[in-house]
């Protein structure tokens, strides 16, 4: 235990981060190692280029959106605590946490996870997924293999299915409702193994 606590000292603000996000010591250390690997020039923070250097992300259809979610608009750099806070959304849901608490909702609750996903759709941040935003997302996912008409019909149908108050856009609650049958706890969690 002695050696790991000294290792933990390397990580700035580790204790607070652990409490805030619920990650364990090993998780934080693991993430810090990864952070250091990504941060090749050892600046202590990550920039856009570091993310773009990850090869797999370049092939990922929504890679740039994911990067955008990490590096908030208006800021150029990402420090370690912010890195961890974003990844905290993907921790497996705690079954023991109950809603009645005085604590703020943890990052990995179902609602927070959905909000994160929603923010990736809603690029302009107005709280609704407009038709154009959905079209853009679908275009990114489907690539070159689809015509505009098909795209429009799919988008139209999707909006029409989900849009309950008929305002032509999908709000967060409507989004939540349309995925209520999807097991978000499972789909949006990943194991942070040693």
């Amino acid at each position: 235990m002695g050696s790991s606590s000294s290792r933990l000292d390397r990580v700035p603000g580790a204790k607070d981060l652990m409490e805030e996000t619920g990650f364990s010591e090993t998780n934080i250390l693991c993430l810090y190692d990864r952070f250091e690997v990504l941060d090749r020039e050892e600046r202590g923070y990550l920039r856009l280029e570091d993310f773009e250097a990850i090869q797999q992300l370049a092939v990922n259809p929504i890679g740039d959106r994911i990067i955008g979610a990490f590096v908030f608009p208006g800021r150029e750099t990402l420090d370690f605590p912010s890195f961890v806070r974003v990844l905290a959304h993907f921790r497996p849901t705690d079954t023991t946490w109950s809603r009645s608490g005085s604590q703020p909702e943890p990052a990995n609750s179902r609602t927070r996870k959905l909000r994160f996903a929603f923010s990736l759709y809603d690029q302009d941040g107005d709280g609704k997924i407009s038709r154009a935003e959905l079209t853009e997302m679908l275009q990114a996912m489907l690539g070159m293999q689809v015509t505009d008409e098909q795209l429009q019909s799919i988008v139209g149908r999707a909006i029409q299915e989900a849009d309950l108050d008929r305002d032509g856009a999908i709000s967060f609650d409507e989004f939540k409702k349309s995925v209520e049958k999807v097991d978000i706890d499972h789909k949006m969690s990943t194991r942070f193994l040693r």
């Binding site: 996912m141 293999q145 799919i154 999807v182």
Partner: protein, 672 residues
């Protein structure tokens, strides 16, 4: 109600007659007549006397000619009538699962036949018949329609339960029974360790047929269903290996370490070999389906035959036939479905369901009948201890394995889940048939009795009580959901998201490998196995097209114009909003031909063409002219609007007026 019971009785009587008739050795054309002979009297007299000059027999009775198929058909008919009949009595069918009722019917029929004729061959559940004809349809149905997503997500858990759990069960039961047999008071000292282990391995396997039959009626949530069901399918490899292992060992008499090691090796060979054979046949089948566009009628047969060949080929080498069958269905399915016509898809679906339903019913009835046929040496201690030990070992196994598995799972298994998994471990006909294949020694009958008792216990007691227990424990039920385009989009989106997150973390998880597999699939495999245009179609598009097709067909069949606006609105909205300048991408040929397909289909159903008399050909699927005439008038109304919609879709920008009002105009005009 009266009708069904009278039909059922008639069937039973016919069966009796048949079995009595078959008991007689020389079935002459008249010598076996017991008076229920429907043939008229004079011909009977005529043909009976062979040394008179034979007059030309106007009507003769030759039963032997058709005996075998007649018997088989009668049994199947009886099974199906029983299946129908149960739903007439709603109270009973709600409490008792169908499988129990069928076993009871089998017992009754067996009892009746035996009562009439002691020597009647009532041994119906012949092992060869079971394994070669009754089991494959059920497994193919299960494998072909296996929900891949939950299966792959829980594959680790399922494998642990199937392999480790079955091994634990087999050894625990075997060793405990051996210990019991050693006790002086039981008087079973002759039973040696290997026989007990063999017995343990037979009775430990969870049976897919029984699980399917019972779980289907309780509509439990997807996770639990796939866990128990997946386990029952995958433990076949373990059962096969253990069974052969112990049979060989009991022949040889001594066991060495090398033999045990070979046993482990053979497990891998059996399971992986079975999967490999299945995958090979699956790929061949998918490849064949690429060329069937001109003979649509025989498409379903390819699916069935290739799968059956996979099963038989695996059985030739003593590999796991069940795993081979499942691998074949799973591999074949995505490619075949992209290639075959819609009608063939429906045919495959319904034939598989039909066959598996018949097989399942027959299995349970024969189980009942065969029980009556056996002499049953009854040893209270042995049988009761077996039942108790089976239950105990199952509970222990599940609980301890879950404790270990939960360390690796994202969504943990709760106590309720564990209970259902343990309680759902039903034994069935596979155990019985394997027991039947045992070498004939003094212990065989005792073992069979114990196996039958365990089967009866699990199917009756556990099968009947599982439904109230599920309600009592408030276990999550299956969520009924039709596919929604939103779910599909968001699920794919989340897949990409998680893959990206995993890449950022540098962590090669589930999503990473799935993504790699998808890319490989898209880049290489699809090109080979799917005809032309469809090979580059993204999954979302296929899904969307399927949905649209379904809705178009629903529209045509129901003939209600009320559904139209929902399809119209997207197009209308598209026209109202200002469009940004269209990037003119080269329109790939996919969309055009899909449009043509949908258009052709709608047109074919809506137009009032007087069907020109085509030359009759058995190989063509003809449109039923009667259907056309009847719906003609109703559909004419929609024809105009559908055509407008379809044509507007391809010339999206030409319409300047708001679409909605035009549609309403059209509707008003057509109201008579």
């Amino acid at each position: 109600l009266l009708f069904y019971w009278s039909l059922g009785c008639w069937c039973v009587l016919l069966l009796l007659f048949v079995s009595v008739a078959s008991a007689g050795r020389d079935v002459d054309s008249g010598s076996n007549d017991t008076g229920r002979n429907p043939a008229p009297e004079d011909s009977h007299h005529q043909t009976n006397s062979t040394h008179h000059k034979k007059a030309f027999p106007v009507l003769s009775f030759n039963f032997d000619h058709v005996r075998k198929p007649f018997e088989i058909s009668l049994w199947i008919l009886l099974a199906l009538l029983m299946k129908l009949g149960f739903h007439i009595i709603p109270r009973v069918s709600h409490v008792v699962p169908e499988s129990c009722l069928l076993i009871v019917v089998g017992l009754l029929v067996g009892g009746i036949i035996k009562a009439f004729d002691e020597d009647a061959p009532v041994q119906m559940l012949d092992s060869k018949f079971f394994f070669l004809y009754l089991l494959p349809p059920i497994i193919l149905d299960a494998g072909y329609f296996l929900p891949m997503r939950p299966f792959t997500e829980n594959l680790g858990t399922i494998l642990v339960f199937a392999v480790v759990g079955t091994l634990w069960n087999a050894f625990f039961i075997g060793l405990t029974m051996y210990g019991v047999c050693q006790i002086e008071a039981v008087k079973l000292g002759r039973v040696d360790l290997l026989s007990c282990l063999l017995f343990g391995s037979i009775v430990s396997a969870v049976d897919p047929v029984a699980v399917l039959a019972v779980f289907e009626e309780i509509h439990i949530n997807e996770l639990l269903h796939i866990l128990v069901f997946g386990e029952s399918l995958l433990n076949d490899a373990v059962t096969v290996v253990l069974y052969h292992l112990f049979t060989e060992f009991s022949h040889k008499g001594t066991v060495t370490v090398a033999d045990a090691f070979l046993g482990v090796v053979s497990f891998f060979v059996v399971s992986l070999g079975g999967i490999l054979i299945g995958a090979i046949y699956g790929i061949i089948g998918a490849f064949t389906s690429r060329f069937t566009s001109h003979s649509r009628v025989i498409e379903p047969l390819f699916v069935f035959l290739y799968s059956y060949m996979a099963y038989l080929s695996a059985e030739v080498f003593h590999l796991s036939g069940i795993m081979s069958l499942i691998a074949c269905g799973v591999v074949m399915r995505p490619y075949v479905e992209a290639n075959i016509s819609h009608k063939s898809y429906t045919t495959i679906k319904y034939f598989l369901k039909m066959w598996s339903s018949v097989s399942e019913t027959l299995i349970f009835i024969f189980l009942g009948v065969s029980t009556v046929a056996q002499p049953h040496p009854w040893n209270w201690t042995f049988v009761v201890v077996t039942v108790v030990v089976c239950f105990v070992s199952r509970v222990l196994g599940v609980v301890s394995l879950t404790y270990i598995i939960n360390k690796f799972r994202i969504v943990k298994l709760t106590k309720k889940d564990q209970f259902i998994v343990a309680y759902g471990g039903l034994r069935g006909a596979i155990a019985f048939s394997l027991g039947f294949l045992l070498p004939d020694n003094e212990m065989k009958q005792l073992f069979l009795t114990a196996i039958i008792t365990v089967i009866f216990y699990t199917v009756f007691v556990q099968g009947m009580t599982i439904r109230p227990l599920v309600e009592l424990l408030a276990v999550k039920k299956k969520k009924e959901s039709k596919g929604s385009i939103n779910e599909e989009i968001h699920t794919q989106f989340l897949d990409h998201l998680l893959t990206g997150i995993e890449d950022i973390c540098g962590h090669y998880g589930h999503h990473h490998w799935k993504d790699k597999l998808n890319r490989f699939n898209k880049a290489y495999v699809k090109k080979w196995l799917i005809t032309g245009e469809r090979s580059t179609e993204p999954q979302l598009i296929s899904f969307y097209n399927k949905m649209e097709m379904k809705q178009a067909m629903m529209l045509v069949e129901s003939g209600s114009a009320a559904k139209l606006p929902t399809i119209m609105t997207p197009v209308s909205m598209q026209n109202i909003q200002p469009k940004e300048p269209l990037k003119r991408r080269a329109i790939p040929s996919i969309s055009k031909s899909r449009e043509q397909e949908i258009r052709k289909m709608l047109r074919g159903n809506l137009q009032k063409t007087r069907q020109r008399l085509r030359s009759y050909s058995r190989h063509d699927l003809m449109v039923d002219p009667f259907e056309e005439d009847v719906s003609e008038v109703r559909l004419r109304k929609q024809r105009v609007e559908m055509e407008r919609r379809v044509s507007s879709n391809s010339a999206a920008n030409k319409q300047s007026q708001p679409w909605i009002s035009k549609q309403q105009l059209g509707k008003d005009n057509n109201i008579p």
